[in-house]
Amino acid sequence: MEVARFWRTTGQRYRLTGEVCPNCGKPIFPPRDVCPVCTKEARTPFTFSGKGEVYSYSTIHVPPQGFERFAPYTVALVRLAEGPLVTAQLTDVDEAEVYIGMPVEMVTRVLREDGERGMLVYGYKFRPARPVRDDAPKSAAEPAHVSETVPDAPAEVGPSAAQVAMASATA
């Protein structure tokens, strides 16, 4: 991925920042300048909560270039809580556990790597809203998936984690 292209799309990829139409109120993701419903101009930024559910999913066995090391991996259409569908990979989940309607939440992960000397491209993926990791906090009184407004910073995130956490906290 080219550096400038990476840079100009960080808002949507790190923070799920789309738009809200000032005319009809529809939340829009990905951002697209013209509202697809009322066709009026829509340039008011709107950051989505990152919560949603699986609308459909597929496990890819034959990956495109740049994604070989992830294969097989599961991709999904996620219906965001605010309405739009978003296309993304699922992570932190066994493909056999995925089902249509599964609640998921956005996390930031490595999307692809452009060779040995190229960029690591970070962006959104979605994981089950209820933590499935063994080391996840398990408190009956206060389940982690309820209290968690700031996604855990996954170990592989590195430099962008703080930025992501801040953006999510102010959403």
Binding site: M1, Y57, L85, A88
Partner: protein, 384 residues
Amino acid sequence: MRDVSIIGIGQTPVGEHWDKSLRELGFQALHAAMNDSGVERVDALYVGNMLSGELTGQEHLGALIADFAGLRGIEAIKVEAACGSGAAALRVGYMAVASGLHDIVACVGVEKMTDQQSDTVTSALATAADAEYEALQGLSFVSINALLMRRYMHEYGYKKEDFANFAITAHANAMNNPYAMFHTPITREQFATAKPIADPINLLDSSPIADGAACVILAPTAIAKEFTGKPVRVRAMAIATDTLAIHDRRDPLYLEGGAISAQKAYAMANVGPSDIDLFEVHDAFTIMSALSLEAAGFAPRGQGVRLAMEGEIGLNGRIPITTMGGLKARGHPVGATGMYQIVEVVEQLREEAGANQVKNARLGMAQNIGGSGATVVTTILERL
């Protein structure tokens, strides 16, 4: 506007042409079509192609093929609309003749895919989708169709094996098409156990990567009989668009572009689905056949698969589809596919389809789809 007819057709076999380049394939189809129509020169050439830049490092195909064919000097351009490039090129040729700007026009669809490894081709095909919001997430073009198929099965209660007849019918019909890539019938069991590509889509839901070229020659209907005893009239033609990404659709399971272009074509031809004798669908994946049949009005929403399950898509069925093998078994050289569909409908309407002849075929339709429905070209042809 002038009435337009097809006065000649040509095609190369679909397959792995390691001995032929892109320009040679394009010329071979053009040469065959010019011979078929008896014309020695054309006024213009429109070349449908999707991936020459990505896979061959070659763009500028209009001038390239015109020069290679000995037609230097004529108007020639490339037309691109992903997997809908073939029929899009026909559309440009149709507009040129209908408008009166040109009299004799050649429309070629050509694609050269097998020089590259399959991961390169997989990435190239993903350029039909939204680069920043689908391809960047690691979605292959197959997986986008898989998302549609999974949701379709979920909403309408189908099982994977309910789609089998689309692939089985295509392979059976390809047996009698000398230009088809596969001459091997497949069974329900093979369909059920084929290698997964992007679950629930497996190898036998999918059309193969291939090389090929096809061509038609257009002329005003008023002079068509000077060239051929069997002109085929372009009764109607329409292109419609939809969002590139399926997540941007109002309803991902509804091919709005397919419905709009079919309705426009029906209105222009003043006919309806019940008047159509055969329908070449864009069966890049079995799910696309179902969605295309529904969008074009041959089945209600969620019932397209039922036509296959009940055997209504065979040569003697209610609506024969993929009569010469379709994308699945004739092969899918992406930018050429739309032109192969047109050539095959012409074969049916001229009664040259041999063992696969649909009886008394008078009106044939083709629907060529770019991406997962972002460009849809519907063409209705009529025997004169």
